[in-house]
Assembly symmetry: C2
Homo-oligomer: 308 residues x 2
Amino acid sequence: MEEKVLIFGHKNPDTDSICSSIVREILDKKNGWNNTIATRLGKINKETQYVLDYLQIPAPKLIEKVEENQEVILIDHNEFNQSVEGIENAKILLVVDHHRIANFTTKEPLYYTAKPYGCTSTILYEEFKNSGHKIEKKEAILMASSIISDTLLLKSPTTTKHDIQALEELEKIARIDIKEYGLEMLKAGTNLDDFSEEELISLDAKTLQKENAKFVIAQVNTVSIEEVLKRQESIEKAISKKIQEEKLDVFVFAITDILNSNSEIIVLGDKKESIEKAFGKKLENNRMFLEGVVSRKKQLLPVIDKNI
Amino acid sequence: MEEKVLIFGHKNPDTDSICSSIVREILDKKNGWNNTIATRLGKINKETQYVLDYLQIPAPKLIEKVEENQEVILIDHNEFNQSVEGIENAKILLVVDHHRIANFTTKEPLYYTAKPYGCTSTILYEEFKNSGHKIEKKEAILMASSIISDTLLLKSPTTTKHDIQALEELEKIARIDIKEYGLEMLKAGTNLDDFSEEELISLDAKTLQKENAKFVIAQVNTVSIEEVLKRQESIEKAISKKIQEEKLDVFVFAITDILNSNSEIIVLGDKKESIEKAFGKKLENNRMFLEGVVSRKKQLLPVIDKNI
């Protein structure tokens, strides 16, 4: 492995992190850069598994940490606390991302491509176009899956015209009904029955470290918030344990209804009043309903970050 | 001014910071983005003045600080301590840079284009190519001047094949003898007679803040190191004053012979032994000759940073 350049998305990988890593490797090969390899920092979620099964391709290799000076490419993230163990001493050659930049530093100049789009794959789609390489059906479905996942079929407020245009063109190349495929994919991702509460709260969790506060915003997608709330008591136990173990000031667990575009959040921790302040609403039974809220990046994180 | 998006390079602007800012504004206009404007964070140096006079274009407007939420575009830098006062609360829309990323953070996603090239203008040259816009003679000379300045006519070890290729093609568009023009431009920049010692040590100075050390690496280019060293005593006085005022641990003043590609450094400050350690050489009379060293970014900064 050591001589390969490792490509990976963030911890608790979502569909964009996995599919964009695979696409990046394909694009690198087309550009004649043959020693890069897609890897991953965690378990494949059910939504992503649906994509891999659909395309009959294997999951990228799991990695747990990197050695000093390991050459790496970061996809769909830049913050070190969302990245692999050892990232501080790795050699970051390239970042492709659509998030804010924070907790990120390098010793050397590097390639960094960020665009404020809804999805990393939309940036890769534009790189394909600029490079003049033809997009094959497989790549088209991989990138389309990322866009569908990150934008909830273009319904999330993070959606930009670039994502819409990319998905339109990718649908033509893929020659499948993207809406039908996308709904199946999203539904596959919302089957939460097999997960323990510990797993539920860490499936897609982002830890954020501020000067005077450490907090987590975790999110699950569902087609029925009610269904998930049946497990509220056990979920709260798991969250409380996590808060203690990681010395968190607050833990926000967002249950997002992807069909109706709303979220219910469960909030625990010493600083839970700051969440009430953030959204101008009282928690009842540790819960709060947020109408129209589906995006952690755009609707939860900035509001919480400002008030904590 | 307020409704304009301000484009600027780093403090103590060099030719790349000024010319790339002007080129960025031109490129924005060609892309239909009409409300961006090139500005600058400091005095125009003599080398850059040579370029502006040659092209008969005025210097960008000087700005001292920015208001909260001012929209800005950072050129040729990203570290906040090299940027404008108030940058922490500005809204950074875009960065185009060729340096390492450090001391940089945003609240929102943004456009960020970094490439490990010798010069920011080489990145802009590639953006011109990708966008399909024609490069006019004026833009060609502006970008060529940046490349000549940052790479010392392609002789600096920071030079990449991308810079070489860009300069070659820009020479064709500019229809001037680039070597002749470049030597005149570099020589214009090395006339240091008019500068006080205080000015000399801050003409092109970068402040770096580490957890346990704050240091400055300043650089002047010359065609005669001897000539500059005649003023060593007064230069040291100016440096000592600076160290006191800014509570610096070490100040490195590099006098770089651009014709023969060597540097003499003058070093003062409590941590000056760490500079001796860094280069495995003793200071004599506070000085050290560094053969083949011309690049702060590639040959001074990383070595010093590792040993301080």
